[in-house]
């Protein structure tokens, strides 16, 4: 048989009698907007090729056409549930390029918004993680409790999920009256609620039997693969950008980094939950130490121009270290903007973890990576 001429990008594969190739996604609810090509021998995965890009929107290209302020609403689109944290490194970078020093009160409010957003993201992820392990209570509870924090963020920013709250020079608007009291009350109740998740989910023998000792990422591999965030800290490495390279006021606040050593799916799913307790602690501390009045925003000139040069800033988002590299050529628009997102960095661990696992363990391993397909695609 002569090989037919194929359009670019297409290839013909021989079908094996024993090994079956399975496409999971990109529209499968179990994978998010992403395709995972797995090859299975019976029940065991022998090869795995993640294929992101189904929702690639060219955020980095779009950023080259818009000025530093207009970039804000579209740059938070990759992770709308964590929109404050994905804007954070961008805003810090633009402030360095423009030479702005923001006020103390704005720094504290930013930290509070970022921590609330981290919890909102983790709750959403936890809901999905629960439902894909067949635990529908764990879908309902976080989805409901997440509303508490969304209400708070709505009071702060005016929007439920896409806040566009951080701007170069501070934050868009000051807190509403009476916010501190409401925030403290809701965060305390929220913490009480998430404590109960241990009974229903984390101490549940069914969850433990499904996730413990599956998808083990060793300490050495976690470093070698350059993973970040909860994946890294579940493998016993104490690295949190908030501690290692504190930005804004994180060095003045009281919190700890959560680290577990086993590196399996169970540890990876537990770290974000433990992080939420630390977030509550940070919010309470920040509310106490925050200056009670003062300016929260420096007004910018229209179309501000950055100085010539580049800047690389990073923050700890709900999924891990999120970096933003901005190259400026003294124009109102960035010359090049690169988002180094944690989901994309953690994706490389997926083939390593899945090979040798049972196909049935795929959802628990995949979602334990705290992976957000839209963010990885940008």
């Amino acid at each position: 048989m002569t090989t037919p001429t194929l359009p670019p990008g297409l290839s013909i594969q021989k079908v094996d009698e024993r090994i079956m190739t399975l496409n999971i996604g990109p529209q499968h609810p179990g994978s998010g907007h992403m395709r995972i090509i797995v090859q299975i021998d019976g029940d065991y995965i022998v090869a795995c090729d993640p294929d992101p890009g189904y929702v690639h929107r060219g955020e980095e290209k779009m950023a080259e056409y818009r000025n530093y302020v207009l970039n804000i609403p579209h740059l938070e689109r990759p992770v709308i549930h964590d929109s404050c944290n994905i804007l954070y490194p961008y805003v810090l970078g633009v402030e360095e390029l423009l030479g702005l020093e923001i006020t103390e009160r704005a720094k504290y409010i930013r930290v509070i918004a970022a921590e609330l957003n981290r919890c909102v993201y983790i709750m959403y992820w936890l809901a999905i993680y629960g439902i894909f392990l067949g635990h529908s209570t764990m879908f309902m509870w976080p989805t409901g409790d997440r509303e508490l924090l969304i209400d708070l963020l709505e009071k702060m920013t005016g929007a439920r999920v896409t806040h566009s709250y951080f701007i170069p020079g501070g934050i868009r608007n000051d807190l509403p009256a009476n916010f501190e009291e409401v925030c403290l009350r809701q965060v305390n109740y929220f913490e009480k609620r998430i404590k109960e998740y241990a009974d229903v989910f984390y101490d549940n023998p069914i969850l433990i039997s499904r996730t413990e000792k599956t998808g083990i990422l060793t300490r050495e591999n976690a470093i070698r693969l350059g993973t970040t965030g909860s994946v890294l800290r579940a493998s016993g490495i104490d690295y949190d950008v908030r501690k290692k390279e504190p930005y804004d006021v994180y060095d003045e606040l009281d919190f700890e980094t959560c680290v577990l050593k086993s590196g399996d799916s169970y540890a990876r799913s537990k770290i974000p939950w433990l992080d939420m307790f630390q977030s509550c602690r940070i919010i309470r501390d920040a509310l106490q130490k925050m200056p009670k009045s003062g300016s929260v925003r420096i007004k910018l000139k229209p179309n501000p121009r950055g100085k010539l040069g580049s800047v690389y800033k990073r923050v700890e988002s709900g999924r891990g270290a999120l970096g933003c590299y901005i190259v400026s050529d003294k124009k109102p628009e960035p010359y090049r903007l690169k988002l180094s997102v944690p989901s994309f960095r953690n994706l490389i661990a997926l083939p390593h973890l899945l090979i040798g696992e049972k196909l049935g363990n795929m959802p628990s391993v995949y979602w334990s990576l705290n992976y957000w397909p839209v963010e990885a695609d940008r």
């Binding site: 390279e245 420096i298 580049s310 090049r336």
Partner: protein, 221 residues
């Protein structure tokens, strides 16, 4: 053309433009107007002075890192900047592999945070910037080492088959695997020695220019 006219507008009326500011930076609540209007001149002057004060004495630890690299690869590298927690080194295309190996084995950087490609059509070059960081060495917790290298740019690119290529760092830093695949599809830089030079984010049948090159225009722009 567009940028020139904008420049004039800014220079002509720096004060008159206050009402338009509100439009640019979203709508503020009425009560923060009096507070934010005042600090603008006071807040903006100190940062302008800051760089000039800091420049004479570079941060010692960061300078030490830069000196180690310059001592070893004197004629092949130049320091582009030394800032607090950040060191930027420009490396010749041929020695990027050696410098990366030195950064891993001697300086203890163990993974790559980000790999960014930047297109410079005016210089006829494409720059690839590696941001290295370290989990294992606690003294490097805050540090990012930026290695930048440039390669030739072709006006009529044929990704993978033209002269736009660089040695892959995948055998040194395993974590660059997906990042280099992304740079390959987005800018057409072929990484020699990379085991898996396939597209990652773009569709398989993409037949246009690599989209992050400056001559690729977004539709409607």
């Amino acid at each position: 053309m567009g940028s020139d006219s904008e420049k004039e507008v800014i220079e002509k009326k720096p004060e008159d433009s206050k009402p338009t500011e509100d439009k640019v930076t979203a709508k503020p609540t009425p009560d923060d107007k009096p507070t934010t209007a005042k600090p603008t001149p006071a807040e903006k002057t100190p940062p302008a002075k800051k760089p000039s004060q800091e420049e004479p004495e570079l941060p010692a630890f960061e300078k030490g890192i830069a000196d180690k690299i310059i001592d070893k690869f004197a004629d092949k590298t130049t320091v582009s900047f030394v800032k607090p927690d950040r060191v930027g080194i420009k490396v010749n295309r041929d020695s990027i592999h050696d410098v990366a190996e030195f950064a891993r084995d001697v300086l203890n950087y163990d993974h790559v945070d980000s790999v960014a490609g930047v297109d410079y059509p005016a210089d006829n070059e494409i720059e690839v910037v590696y941001h290295l960081s370290s989990y294992t060495d606690p003294t490097l917790g805050r540090q990012i080492l930026e290695l930048a290298t440039r390669t030739q740019r072709e006006d009529d690119p044929n990704p993978g088959k033209d002269a736009t290529r660089l040695p892959s760092l995948r055998d040194i830093f395993y974590s660059v695997e997906f990042h280099e695949r992304e740079v390959f599809e987005m800018l057409g830089v072929y990484f020699e020695g990379h085991p898996d030079n396939r597209r990652l984010l773009l569709p398989e049948d993409w037949a246009d220019l690599p989209p992050l090159r400056k001559d690729f225009r977004n539709k409607g722009r």
